[in-house]
């Protein structure tokens, strides 16, 4: 796959991950499950690549993390949207929707 497309894919993964966090803090496994469930396994990201994505988002200040114990008692690393991440998600979502609308219109001209 050519470079720009990979960037777009990565950008898409970023938005999806951020979107999973709008409902509240989650750990990495929960995010991976949610992505699989919500997309009916269409977005089957290689699960390993989720973690570097999370670290990058944290580095950019879009999410923050802390260790808490799960309801089951195990300690897990929970990710949370930062205000900055929330703003980022808003603009990126709008961009994505506008983009996909155009692509959809082009692909289905007579609908």
């Amino acid at each position: 796959m050519a470079g720009p497309s990979r960037d777009r894919l990565r950008g898409t993964l970023d938005i999806l991950v951020l979107q999973t966090l709008t409902a509240g803090p989650r750990h990495g496994y929960a995010i991976a499950r949610w992505l699989a469930d919500e997309s009916d396994d269409t977005v089957r990201v290689e699960e390993g690549s989720l973690y570097p994505a999370l670290y990058r988002l944290e580095e950019r200040g879009l999410v923050s993390s802390e260790w808490r114990s799960t309801d089951g008692g195990r300690p897990a690393k929970f990710y949370k949207l930062t205000p900055q991440g929330r703003r980022y998600l808003r603009t990126e979502t709008a961009d994505w929707l506008a983009f996909s609308k155009v692509v959809t219109r082009i692909l289905q001209p007579q609908s």
Binding site: P25, A32, E47, Y51, S69, T70, G72, A76
Partner: protein
């Protein structure tokens, strides 16, 4: 969604980065396995699938680690910056709450830094910075030495530094092996024919530029065959003159410029900023040396400075020995020797030690400043022990407290250094501005950044070291004892350190003050020396003669005689005369004098000589001791006469009446008609040498000055003096109109300079000491308030309480004096060469300074102590 997808409870400890990634992935695998088992897979299967789903585990971990590390570094940086800003803001807030302390500390730091930096900058500019020539360390000054003259009262300065004549130059050039090349030059002045404007010239051998390693900026330099009798009249123009006078026009090459002794063709422009004598502006024109008749070897005229470039590996002492051999051979005089020494050292030899004295003084001031800062910081920090202890007790980390103190000291030091830097800049400019003109290279001095950095580091170290002492002692203590600090051992320790600091400050201030007092007393005695004439209201006027006034041209003398008559008619003028080389005019010459009928082994003793017009002695205020002085009747047609000084009479005709005797002088017998008082001519510290005076009408030579005794000083008369003189002859320019007292004062300008600077430093040291002692006493009063309250309550009198409070500080002062006295004796010995009629151990100076410092100490510690001693015991006891 399983319950484990949600967090609960409080935040947990975050594991280190490497561990964190592992644990995060382990958690993922464990959770997935659990989900798969719930869907019916066997544990082994579930685990394998979970791991496979994750993909390249090692790669993922590596990526996460890289990103995580990068992020950690960023966070550390911003946290440090954030903490630092916070600490600084806090420090500034604390300092603003104690403005007195802050201002004193900053002032003290700035003073020490500024003084030390500026003096070092001057020393660097004059002594340390290499001369601006190619490979300057191999340039050596060459002098003829005449050791036999060392004790001569008139010409002893020639013993180690006699300039060269053409014959020595040729002999060296042809025979010396020590040098790659040798050059000579002499300074002079000439006049532009067109404008009658005086210009400075330098007569140089063709080799001069080569020896210096310089090249002309334009055209060519001199050629060796131009340095010959009646050689081609060619000239070089200085870069500065070329720019200012000729607009940097390159068509200058080949242009003919008319000087009053002939027309010269410009062949080149000198490189920019080229200066041989760093005490004067560059000569405007260079002409070839050795073209004049009197420059030829057979006249034995010695008038050239010489510089040579030593061959690599040749020492100055080898060159000296070789040059001495060559000089002896060429002159046939076995008593002559040579002196070859580093050129820069040669130029700065007489300024060297005095500058080091100033450097030492500024160093003392810097140390005193550091001690003062240390004292202030120590006092400040120890009085805050409780505050610090409280902060630790309520949870501030010890490192954080120590860092806070460190930041506080650094903030002070940085602000102090900034103020000190501006102070250094100001002081350097002042030092350069008020410097006597004779210190070579001082005008190139500028604030030296290395010195500034060094002084700043000293002040910082002092501040930080002593600011931290109490903090460290707190850190060492156990938590339980923390709240009880300020009364126990650390306080006693602090007091002991404090006492030594006081002692150091007093001892060093004592040294500085004694030095300043010695110098000031010496200067006082020096300026009170009677020079043998009455300088007040006397003006010396120097003129530049046109070349038509060749010696023995009747027009020359006629000009001076007519000018004297017209100047005498000016209102406000009491008496006018003229003479060669007046006292403190900068010039002098001497010749042998032999008493008639006496036999001398080689020739008569050297005697200062002056040729004067009638009225010279009364205009200058030199007393007549016997006989008469010159009149208009003593002219070329009458008997040759001389007047001698008392010292000459005492040397040549002791116990006999001198008047009426005859001496052989300048090849002719002349009758002594009078004896006048001795006149000091170059330095007030040097006793007047024997002198002989002749009437200008009978013997004419040298530079003639007008001597005018006025009623009200020089300034109001200067314009009318100029207009009278230009009325007599328009082609004679007035070079200078100098009040005689100014000329005399210039002769000890270095002494004044030195004294003013050391005195200023000493005054500052005394102020710092007073401030320091006051601060220390205030502190010790504050600490012992409770104790004193109890003592007074138990019946101690206020006086006793006051004395008790002062005793801490005064103990340190006495200790300081005990060390200061011997130190000052040592320092005084270093000053000895610069003291005139004051001994280094001058009891008066030592007692005055002791009294002064004790007075300052009593005052500075007495005021706060007395206030505390007289306060109401009840309020004191309630204070805590």
């Amino acid at each position: 969604m399983s319950a484990e997808h949600h967090g609960s409870g409080s935040q947990l400890f975050r594991p280190p980065l490497d561990r964190e990634i592992e644990k995060e992935l382990e958690f993922h695998v464990a959770m997935r396995t659990k989900d798969l088992v719930a869907r019916g897979r066997s544990i082994q299967d579930a685990r394998r699938i979970a791991t496979e789903e994750l993909g390249d585990m090692a790669g993922v971990m590596e990526q996460c680690r890289t990103i995580g590390r990068r992020r950690e570094r960023q966070m550390n940086r911003s946290r440090i910056l954030h903490d630092l800003t916070q600490d600084i803001a806090f420090a500034v807030r604390l300092l603003r709450r104690r403005p007195m302390f802050a201002v004193l500390a900053i002032f003290t730091i700035a003073l020490g830094i500024g003084a030390a930096t500026s003096i070092f900058s001057v020393v660097d500019g004059v002594l340390l910075r290499a001369l601006p020539f190619n490979d300057p360390s191999r340039l050596a000054a060459i002098w003829i030495a005449q050791p036999s003259l060392r004790d001569d009262p008139v010409i002893s300065r020639l013993a180690s530094r006699t300039v060269l004549g053409a014959e020595e130059f040729y002999a060296l050039r042809d025979n010396a092996t020590a040098f790659t090349n040798i050059a000579i030059w002499s300074d002079g002045s000439s006049m532009l024919a067109e404008t009658s404007e005086q210009v400075s010239i330098l007569q140089a051998s063709a080799s001069l530029l080569d020896v210096l390693g310089e090249h002309v900026a334009l055209g060519r330099g001199f050629l060796a065959d131009e340095n010959v009798l009646n050689g081609p009249k060619v000239a070089l123009v200085s870069w500065e003159n070329w720019v200012a006078r000729y607009g940097a026009d390159s068509s200058i090459i080949g242009r003919a410029i008319a000087f009053d002794d002939g027309t010269y063709t410009v062949v080149g422009v000198l490189p920019r900023g080229l200066r041989l004598d760093r005490t004067v502006a560059p000569a405007q024109f260079w002409m070839p040396a050795l073209q004049g008749q009197y420059d030829q070897p057979k006249y034995h005229n010695r008038s050239f400075h010489a510089v040579g470039r030593l061959k690599a590996g040749v020492s100055a002492s080898f060159a000296t020995a070789e040059a001495a051999r060559i000089f002896r051979t060429s002159s046939g005089d076995t008593t002559v020797s040579a002196r070859v020494l580093d050129w820069q050292y040669d130029q700065t030899e007489s300024s060297r030690e005095p500058l080091y004295i100033l450097l030492a003084a500024s160093g003392l001031l810097l140390v005193i400043g550091c001690v003062n800062v240390a004292m202030l910081m120590l006092g400040e920090a120890s009085s805050r022990e409780r505050e610090l202890a409280a902060r630790i007790a309520i949870g501030a980390s010890r490192t954080r407290v120590v860092r806070q103190l460190l930041v506080e000291s650094m903030t002070l030091a940085v602000v102090g250094a900034a103020v000190g830097a501006s102070f250094a800049w100001l002081l350097t400019r002042t030092l350069v501005a008020i410097a006597p003109a004779r210190i070579p290279g001082i005008d190139s001095a500028s604030v030296d950044l290395r010195a500034l950095a060094f002084a700043t580091v000293c002040a910082m170290l002092a501040g930080v070291a002593f600011g931290l002492t109490p903090a460290l002692s707190i850190v060492r203590q156990s938590e339980t004892s923390l709240l009880r600090v300020g009364t126990g051992q650390s306080a006693r320790q602090g007091r002991r350190v404090q006492r030594w600091l006081v002692a150091t400050e007093i001892a060093l201030s004592f040294v500085l003050l004694v030095g300043a007092t010695l110098l000031a007393r010496s200067l006082g005695r020096l300026s009170a020396v009677d020079p043998g004439f009455v300088a007040r209201n006397v003006v010396a006027v120097k003129v530049i003669e046109p070349s038509k006034f060749h010696r023995d041209d009747p027009r020359r003398l006629a000009y001076y005689e007519q000018a004297v008559r017209q100047l005498a008619a000016l209102p406000g003028v009491d008496a006018v005369s003229a003479g060669v080389n007046p006292p403190f005019g900068g010039g002098s010459s001497s010749s042998p004098v032999e008493v008639e009928g006496r036999v001398y082994r080689t020739r008569g003793p050297s005697t200062d000589q002056r040729s004067v017009l009638p009225g010279y002695f009364s205009a200058l205020g030199v007393p007549l001791r016997a006989g008469r002085t010159f009149t208009d009747a003593d002219d070329a047609s009458s008997e040759l006469v001389v007047v001698i000084s008392e010292a000459a009479a005492k040397r040549d005709l002791p116990g006999e009446p001198a008047v009426g005797r005859r001496v052989k002088y300048q090849g002719q017998l002349r009758r002594i008609i009078g004896v006048v008082g001795d006149v000091r001519t170059a330095r007030l510290t040097r006793d007047a040498g024997p002198a002989i005076y002749t009437p200008l009408r009978q013997y004419e030579y040298g530079n003639i000055y007008f001597i005018i005794r006025t009623r009200a000083g020089a300034a109001p008369l200067a314009p009318s003096i100029r207009s009278v003189l230009s009325g007599v002859d328009r082609t004679v320019n007035v070079a200078s109109i100098s009040p005689m007292p100014t000329l005399v004062a210039q002769s000890y300008a270095e002494d004044s300079y030195r004294t003013v600077i050391v005195a200023a430093f000493a005054t500052l040291a005394a102020i710092l000491a007073a401030v320091g002692l006051y601060g220390v006493t205030v502190r010790s009063v504050a600490r012992r308030t409770r104790e004193i309250g109890i003592r007074v309550a138990l019946g101690a009198t206020p006086t006793l309480a006051t004395r008790l409070l002062m005793s801490d500080t005064l103990g340190g002062v006495l200790l300081g004096l005990a060390f200061g006295v011997p130190l000052a004796v040592v320092a005084g010995k270093q000053l000895a060469p610069y003291l005139y009629h004051v001994v280094p151990g001058d009891p008066f100076s030592f007692s005055v300074v002791t009294a002064l410092l004790v007075g300052v100490a009593v005052l500075a510690s007495g005021v706060p102590a007395r206030r505390a001693g007289h306060s109401n015991p009840a309020s004191v006891l309630n204070a805590e």
